[in-house]
């Protein structure tokens, strides 16, 4: 760029009025062609557009230089050393005109180049090699003109970063929908997980009020539950257990009395669905539920985001992926032991009631599995079986 500027400079100085008018026309023409054609252009590409008469390289150089000066062209260099040009929107280019000093132009162009990720002030300083106060001044002025804005990047929360005021920070910089004010919104994630878990649980299990219900004809309880699920969710996160239970009970009322009397001893329980069941909720279903229920407020969750959420539930051993007929759905783990209550919207501090029932290891049930001084425990040592407080408590002998 600097080399071509040096060669183009004098020629422009000697140019006549007609010459400059022709130049302006050519500029316009080349710019418009570029906008139509695509993204990036090499010198050959530009020549091939046949805007420049006689393939005059010198003329092309002048035109391109002039476009670059107007910030309508961005000059780039490939790794191989080839120079490429990219066009810039006229409105954007106009913003450069607002920069009054060279420093401002330089700072603004760097911030512009960094795009949605933003740029750190230190990086600016290193690249521009400016004096600290000059840089600060330039930034201040640019900010005053409304061209750039400070923002925080979640990956580097302590760095002072700037971004063009006209664009939104990229997902990488904001951390996507999971972040609120540059902080991971754990409460939001936790609550969403519960909603998703409840949804999967309801959709992937059969709610039996008693053992006899299984004998009933092939009912269509699913539809009702889907509707109910969405309706409940739309009302907000709080759904009480009674409402939940009411839904599945309705279809089971159709059971012939004979089968009910056969065995109606069991508590309401969840049963697995037959093998090959195809309607296990997929990521798309879950995403649809979340968006239609409106619980995410102003945050928009893409399918990828929901997939992330579901993946976490899978890793937590709460749900499991199941592939039927070529599509991957999700169903609840340990379906036989899960409670029929919903997990979301509960206020109790333990967060456990109505939540997923996980397999409890015998090791951690006994004192030793949870013992904080297990490694030290030795007969004759400071802690040992003869003076173990935890065992005493476990055996219910706190009096001693």
């Amino acid at each position: 760029m600097s080399a071509s500027a040096a060669s183009a400079g004098p020629s422009r100085a000697n140019g006549s009025d007609a010459d400059s008018a022709k130049l302006a026309v050519l500029k316009e023409l080349l710019y418009d062609r570029c906008r139509e054609e695509g993204d990036m252009f090499s010198q050959d590409d530009l020549l091939r557009m046949e805007v420049i008469p006689n393939r005059d390289l010198l003329l092309l150089a002048r035109v391109v230089q002039s476009l670059s000066d107007d910030k309508l062209f961005i000059t780039m260099r490939e790794a191989s050393g080839q120079v490429l040009w990219k066009w810039r929107d006229k409105q954007e280019a106009h913003k450069y005109k607002q920069c009054t000093t060279d420093e401002q132009v330089m700072v603004y162009s760097l911030i512009d180049d960094s795009g949605g990720d933003g740029i750190w002030t230190q990086t600016l300083q290193k690249r521009l090699n400016m004096h600290d106060s000059v840089l600060k001044n330039a930034i201040k002025q640019l900010q005053a003109k409304g061209l750039i804005a400070p923002f925080k990047n979640v990956e580097h929360p302590n760095k002072k970063m700037y971004i063009k005021a006209s664009i939104r920070p990229s997902d990488r910089a904001t951390g996507g929908p999971w972040y609120t004010d540059q902080d991971l919104d754990e409460a939001f994630i936790e609550d969403l997980q519960r909603v998703v878990f409840d949804f999967i649980k309801r959709q992937s299990s059969y709610h039996s009020t008693h053992a006899g219900a299984a004998k009933a004809a092939a009912q269509v309880p699913k539809k009702g539950i889907i509707k109910g699920g969405l309706g409940d969710a739309a009302k907000g996160k709080k759904r009480d257990a009674a409402e939940m239970e009411a839904k599945p009970v309705a279809p089971s009322a159709k059971i012939p009395p004979v089968s009910v009397s056969a065995s109606s001893r069991r508590e309401p329980a969840l049963l697995p669905l037959p093998a090959g069941y195809m309607a296990y909720p997929t990521v798309r279903d879950i995403a649809r539920l979340l968006s239609s229920s409106g619980i995410t407020n102003n945050t928009i969750l893409s399918e990828g985001d929901v997939k992330k959420l579901v993946d976490v539930l899978v890793w937590d051993n709460l749900v499991e992926p199941i592939k039927v007929a070529g599509k991957v759905g999700y169903r609840v783990s340990r379906v036989a032991k899960q409670s029929v209550e919903s997990w979301a919207g509960r206020e109790d501090p333990s967060g456990r009631s109505g939540g997923p029932e996980l397999y409890v290891s015998p090791l951690t049930e006994a004192p030793c599995g949870r013992c904080p001084v297990f490694d030290l425990c030795e007969e004759g040592g400071p802690v040992g079986p003869s003076n173990c407080e935890y065992f005493k408590k476990w055996l219910g002998k706190e009096i001693f």
Partner: protein, 640 residues
């Protein structure tokens, strides 16, 4: 079996509890010092040769030692048998299993054998006949177990029970070689086969030698089963497992009457390996029950019972390699159906779904080979649901036996919203069979892959890939203990690492949807516990922290070994706590042991003491119960 400090401690403690301090001390010395002679043992334990001989006698009687007398030097060395020592803790479980699977008489016999360690059949006969002289007259020669107690009361009855158990491999014969360490025997055979006489050229190829070693070793290993084979020749194929309390058992026993009498000089003992196979089936069934529900668990239990009749050990012998279980047994749906307990209500336990939401093609998919590690990827080559009809006709064309099954399937597919015929015939066997098949399909579909649908004959053939299912069970146990020690987040992080392998520290927070600081704290805590570890890869040779990549990884084997050792320690502690409790209540306990007090504790003791005594019994139950549950986990990680 790899013996850690805590495992050795546990074994010594168990022996101490059951057989007293002397054998326990000798055993502890053998564990710490390894293979020893009597003189060496004397040095280690500070005991006189007489005492040592007494102690060794007890240990050998209980099969707790390996011993071997070298043919050249005539010196005898002793070595602890950690597996057998550990098995002491399982005695109760084995008896319970025998009682429920085989019957009271069998349980009684196994109990006697466990008590004796090993015994000659003549001795057993003597013991049983002299124990019940009063009933000798009426039960003699009858063979049918008429008494209420269900215990063995005559010689012929004893022999029937004995041969039944021998044929089921629960009881094996003891030979002098049974007391040798199998790895010793293997190495001896190996040395024998590979050695060449001076001047002789090694002519045999490696493969040939290997085959020969295998053959000889297998011959050694199968020695205790010789009697079983002998009995099998007389009695035809092994009779199906008998159930408690129904008529089937008596028929079996009556059939066994034709057996030739057993050689009274044969020495027998309990075969723990086979018992473990049975216990494993039990564990797997309860695992299935836990994941899918009670009825499904029952169906699975029946299936496992059928599959494992010919399985004599849980894991292939390390010396014989994988070939031992190369040919996999399968059972058909009909078999399972015939053996399923009538009381099991197969109609319950599975939810209903509209027919159009069920893809029969994927539910009925037959997998001829064990699945790979990732279920989802493994299936991806299958094309998504095609039209069912054409698929069914394909099946019928290729396989005659298949047609019956596919007919019923296509009937279900036929677009009828409700199957009226099905409901009316609710009691018909066909319906029950179909319902039960649903449970089997459910088991096959589970992510734990309880069963594999491996063929279409007899309305579907089923097999179990034990390695895979057990791996899943181990995984579940491991997950549970991680979850309870480090919370959901800890579990999440380790599962991410297990799925993705080594992972850059920077990737973890975004994958787990956790705060960076939380992740770091959790990972650090788990690193301290030895579950995860970090690998540092410097980007350049400055080795500063911000130019270094940190890769976290989860070492499954190490975590399992770690948890196993923790289990041993927890068991030791529970037993030691019990000892402490016993010591604390020694006055009451010694009082209760008095002959004039036993049986009428409530009358003789004061209320205060009696309450204390009861409380102690409760504590004992609690502690021993806990030990049993821990043992369940140990078996899962180590033996099954």
């Amino acid at each position: 079996m790899f013996v850690t400090k805590h495992a050795a401690e546990l074994c010594a403690l168990l022996v101490n509890d059951l057989y007293g301090e002397l054998p326990s001390r000798i055993l502890a010395a053998l564990f710490t010092k390894g293979r020893s002679t009597i003189t060496q043992l004397g040095l280690y334990t500070q005991l006189g040769p007489r005492q040592i001989r007494n102690g060794l006698g007890v240990l050998i009687q209980q099969n707790l030692l390996y011993h071997h007398t070298d043919a050249d030097t005539k010196r005898t060395t002793y070595e602890a048998n950690p597996g057998a020592c550990y098995n002491l803790v399982r005695s109760g479980k084995i008896l319970e299993m025998i009682e429920s699977q085989y019957g009271t008489a069998e349980r009684d016999l196994v109990q006697t054998l466990l008590l004796l360690g090993y015994a000659r059949i003549a001795e057993l006969t003597h013991a049983y006949v002299s124990r019940a002289p009063r009933s000798n007259g009426h039960a003699n020669g009858n063979g049918v177990n008429g008494a209420d107690s269900g215990l063995i009361e005559s010689e012929s009855e004893l022999h029937n029970v004995l041969s039944h158990l021998i044929r089921c491999e629960i009881i094996e014969t003891v030979r002098p070689q049974s007391f040798r360490n199998p790895s010793d025997v293997y190495h001896e055979i190996e040395a024998e086969v590979t050695k060449t006489a001076p001047g002789e050229k090694a002519t045999k190829t490696k493969i040939d030698q290997q085959r020969q070693i295998m053959e000889q070793y297998r011959a050694f290993r199968d020695q205790p089963k010789a009697l079983k084979r002998q009995l099998d020749q007389f009695g035809g194929p092994v009779t199906k497992r008998r159930k408690t309390g129904n008529g089937l058992g008596d028929e079996d026993r009556a059939m066994d009457d034709d057996m030739p009498p057993l050689n009274p000089n044969v020495v027998v003992r309990v075969n723990h390996e086979k018992c473990l196979v049975e216990l494993r089936s039990h564990r797997l069934a309860s695992f299935a029950k836990d994941t899918l529900g009670e009825v499904t668990g029952e169906v699975y239990r029946t299936l496992l019972g059928l599959l494992t009749t010919d399985v004599s050990r849980c894991r292939a012998d390390p010396f014989l390699g994988e070939e031992a279980i190369a040919q996999q047994a399968t059972v058909t749906t009909m078999d399972v159906y015939e053996h399923l307990d009538e009381a099991v209500n197969v109609t319950s336990g599975i939810g209903k779904a509209p027919k159009d939401k069920i893809d029969y093609q994927s539910a009925e998919k037959i997998k001829t080979a064990p699945a790979g590690n990732d279920m989802i990827d493994n299936d991806s080559d299958e094309d998504p649901s095609g039209p069912f009809d054409s698929d069914d006709s394909d099946d019928m064309g290729t396989n005659g036996n298949f047609s019956r099954r596919s007919r019923s399937v296509s009937k279900a597919n036929g677009g009828r919203p409700t199957k009226v015929t099905f409901e009316e015939a609710a009691t018909s066997t066909d319906n029950r069979l179909d319902q039960m098949r649903q449970h089997l399909l459910l088991l096959a579909e589970s992510k734990h892959r309880f069963v594999r649908h491996c063929g279409a004959q007899g309305r579907g053939q089923w097999t179990v890939d034990f390695d895979q299912v057990m791996e899943r069970l181990r995984e579940t146990e491991l997950d549970a203990s991680i979850e309870q020690s480090f919370g959901r987040h800890g579990l999440r992080l380790t599962r991410i690492l297990r799925e993705k392998g080594k992972l850059d520290e920077k990737m973890l927070p975004s994958a787990a949807l956790m705060k960076k600081t939380d992740v770091q704290a959790k990972m650090l805590a788990m690193q301290m516990a030895g579950l995860v570890d970090v690998q540092e890869v410097p980007k350049d040779n400055t080795r500063v922290a911000n130019r270094t990549l940190f890769f976290w990884f989860f070492d499954r084997e190490r975590s399992q070994a770690q948890i196993l050792d923790d289990l041993y320690k927890a068991m030791v502690r529970a037993l030691q706590t019990l000892q402490v409790e016993r010591h604390r209540e020694r006055n009451i306990l010694s009082f209760v042991e008095r002959k004039d007090v036993m049986g009428k504790e409530e009358e003789v003791m004061t209320a205060e003491h009696y309450n204390k005594y009861n409380r102690h019994l409760e504590e004992q139950n609690k502690l021993l119960g806990q030990v049993m549950r821990l043992d369940e986990m140990v078996s899962t990680f180590r033996e099954y």
